[in-house]
Symmetry: D2
């Protein structure tokens, strides 16, 4: 990465510029626990394939993965079941998630969710995680994601989990609809426990950047060189990140940034430069699509500056 020195020099400046966008967004309010976040916070870490890393801003605070976790539960479901089973229960077609509509579930034949990154799809994916008990499934997720983050098992934020579970009636509605359609076969509350818990696992920017780096390296651990994920499943995950990783702002993001990325309503964004680097961002103030408003600005700036777009 021959741009490393200009990146190191410029990052703090671009971060402070991007932070000015934060007041134009809003912290997520539909989950009470999330609404407590500091709206002016912005932090980033970029971790190169060569072991170097650079960070700027508010990097130390932990935050919950929220929808970012869907990328990794998809990978686990693929590793546990294979492509054929997973894609018999969830589609491959891009569509933004509108957060409040079940219309789309009804419009697809035969009633399976459009893709694994919208809520309905991610709930189906959660039901495909292997484990003889709910506890085992969740423990497996904590361990696997922790390994990708270069640490022990990820911690669960109990308050956020409870908050999500209590306010998650639209997800419950979708889960029962999918049950009625025959797509979901496990008990709804069991599946939702797994789903809400993996959304409530915490990381910091550095850990998120390392998780992204494993994907950038096609599934190989940057330190040990161990293959953690089959390359094919990383390719699938990256493709979904490009086509529908940023909710209803995915198309605009693909044009303006052009990198595989996934956001969460906590304000986290995970992005990656194939073969070269992983990026972890936190900025809780969200734009109308539910993506970190300052985080997206920062990525646009960086992509333009260093011509990072895949397209």
């Amino acid at each position: 990465m021959n741009e490393w020195s200009s990146l190191t020099a410029g990052l703090p400046v671009w971060l402070e510029q991007a932070r000015h966008a934060a007041p134009f967004g809003k912290v997520a309010s539909y989950i009470p626990e999330l609404s407590k976040a500091d709206s002016s916070m912005l932090g980033i870490q970029i971790r190169g394939a060569d072991g170097r890393s650079v960070s700027a801003g508010d990097c130390g605070s932990p935050f919950t993965l929220q929808s970012i976790s869907k990328v990794f539960t998809l990978i686990m479901a693929l590793m546990d079941n294979g492509e054929e089973i997973v894609f018999s229960k969830v589609g491959m077609e891009p569509t933004g998630d509108s957060f409040n509509s079940m219309l789309k579930l009804e419009l697809v034949q035969p009633g399976i969710p459009f893709n694994p990154l919208i809520n309905a799809g991610a709930i189906v994916v959660s039901s495909l995680i292997a484990g003889s008990s709910n506890e085992e499934k969740i423990t497996r997720i904590q361990s696997f994601l922790g390994k990708l983050a270069g640490r022990g098992p990820l911690q669960l934020d109990e308050d956020t989990y409870r908050s999500e579970s209590e306010s998650g009636n639209l997800n419950r509605s979708m889960a029962y609809f999918l049950t009625d359609n025959g797509v979901l076969q496990s008990k709804v509350e069991d599946v939702l426990e797994v789903y809400f818990k993996h959304c409530s696992l915490t990381v910091d920017c550095g850990e998120l950047a390392r998780m992204a780096l494993v994907l950038a390296l096609d599934g190989v651990d940057p330190d040990s060189g161990e293959r953690l994920i089959p390359r094919r499943y990383v390719q699938i995950a990256k493709t979904f990140m490009v086509t529908c990783g940023m909710y209803n702002g995915s198309g605009e993001f693909a044009i303006d940034v052009g990198l595989p990325a996934k956001s969460g309503v906590s304000g986290g964004i995970m992005a990656l430069l194939p073969g070269r680097a992983g990026i972890g961002i936190i900025g809780p103030s969200l734009n109308r699509h539910g993506n970190s408003v300052a985080g997206v600005h920062l990525l646009e700036q960086l992509s333009k500056e260093f011509d990072w777009s895949l397209f």
Copy 2:
């Protein structure tokens, strides 16, 4: 009713003719317990305001009210809360129920069900029945409906109730959607217990005809002369029966029969001649709209013969 003697003479003949339509329908299969019904069964009782009654066919067997109960829980919710509260949570506009779509819930502003006779609306109505506990609510419904039927409390068919509750995932999905919209404020499983239980109360044709007769008499008990329901609420109930009492076949039924009526997937139909008579029918073989195929034929024949249409 100067047609009484020709009615008495003709009824057994018309019933046997209508019974020939039964093989063109199908017994409800989506609730396992209902699928056990005898598809060739057909029975009717007509009970006049003057105390006379006539019956024909298989009149003795008990059957569950299913959606017919929605007319009476609406009346109870109106008596318990008044019009203003009830119609702030459920609309007045006719639309057939398609049984398998949530689309309509999303298309109405502000997200309240179209009317109290579609499933979503009836679930909201169930949440408005007064009572300090679920048990009390259900006991009140059993007593009130029993009184209209001219007997003690209606009995619950436990097997049907369990069957409905176990297979009722689309209703669960709707209930959580309504909760998310803020329309439903009670606990979902509590509301659904009330809903599934009032659908599983049993009557026979004669009891159903008497319930209809109370409505035909604008809410007055045909024997005691006691007012059981305010006239205004009977008027409201009758209007909904005309505009949406027969699922997606309501419009056709209004043209071909022209009487206030409500059907259930058990094959029951309650119909009434304003001021003159109540009618109870059972015929479990259903047409594509979910109405008793032979029962509808019989009512068409009677309406044409005696010019009963309100229109």
Copy 3:
């Protein structure tokens, strides 16, 4: 009609009371020509089966029939083609018309409009009017409706017709959708000419009341005693008027007034008391459903006062 004297005495008073509701509504603006109407205008004529009539308010001004004409083109299409052909191309099921959505066209199998009173259905009905040329079809409509109104052919308001045709792009969109579905077989612009022209025929309150009276008398001319419409087709028309004659306010109107009625966005309302009277109203200020706000108030008052509801 033993209430005739109190009706005659009270009508001017109730009309002035109802006129107070006019400022709470709005004159139709989507058709430029209609927006010129006087929003405070309110007029009514009631015409009894016995030849008596009473009127109040602004009765003399002519107005265009708009959607009220759909009742009569339905009757003509039935007389020209029979029930079977008409109802193979348009359904019988009640649903309000939302004025701006094509969703419903897509949700019905096999893609036919729900009923003949929503715009899409009325366009299909217009295509079924007999005639070897568009001119002949329109002339037939003018003559038939004129006969019902007790006069020569109804006049076309050319300015309104042009205004409707120029702004009628949603109707064009629906017509091409129906063509693509195979439901509409004539040339779109030809059908729309017939449709927009019958919407632009003018009457005054007295003429509208007489048209209603023919329906109240099951199709018989009140003066000559001649049968103008087969009774069955009047029954069909009255049923649709009850279930979907007042746009998305049909259910509420059925509960609060309880008479067969049809409104138009010009502010006209045609209502009828079966066997007894026809009513014609004009009041251009519309409520949110597109019905004359003062006109509906007046009918509610009259229905309550004289217990006119069919239910």
Copy 4:
């Protein structure tokens, strides 16, 4: 391209293998003129940045561009109007086109099409092509696309144009809906003439490969080195090709092939390897998504063999 020799050697073999998939698809039938195509035909040309090219199969026959033309009219609309104007009238969000639904048009606020590659979006784009007359607009398109193809103006297939125009009632319906929404401001039949005509321009595989090569080279002519398209607009076009270039099969194609591509119902596919090559394919037998069934198989084989996926 160090894989060139194995590509040259293998291409005829892989093409014949892929041709076996043709019988599993169906030639487009909704446009009569297209249904005449030979379903077993399959041809490909690959044209490298260095001037080399390789072809196999039925490469000589001309075919119509159909939806492939939408990529280039988008580019022209951007060059004629700038990003701001274009994206005020059409969105950026991926969604497959279902070919027969207008639902999506209603579900987006403020009623603009989701993206420029679905039919509704492409119709809006057609209205943005500069020109003082319809003839001038079409001539400009023929010239610009011809220049990209390395030849004079592309020829119009008159029979296909007439066939499309005559059967294009769903497109007409969409155009009038967009007019009603205020998104489309030109005369509907004028816009549709431009739209149907650019869909009916003909190319052969070699010309299509050259058009793709210009995009692969970020807008620069491979022979003259002249910049034909600003790089930013090529980037936008390539992004849409990845997220929604293959109708409802875009997501699956992104996973299994991973190249920017656009298909048409004539059976044409244009694909590109950024910086390296352009690909033109014709194979009229279509899979259920409307993409050349054998063409997609061939691209899957090539992408796997040479690891071409961008992801």
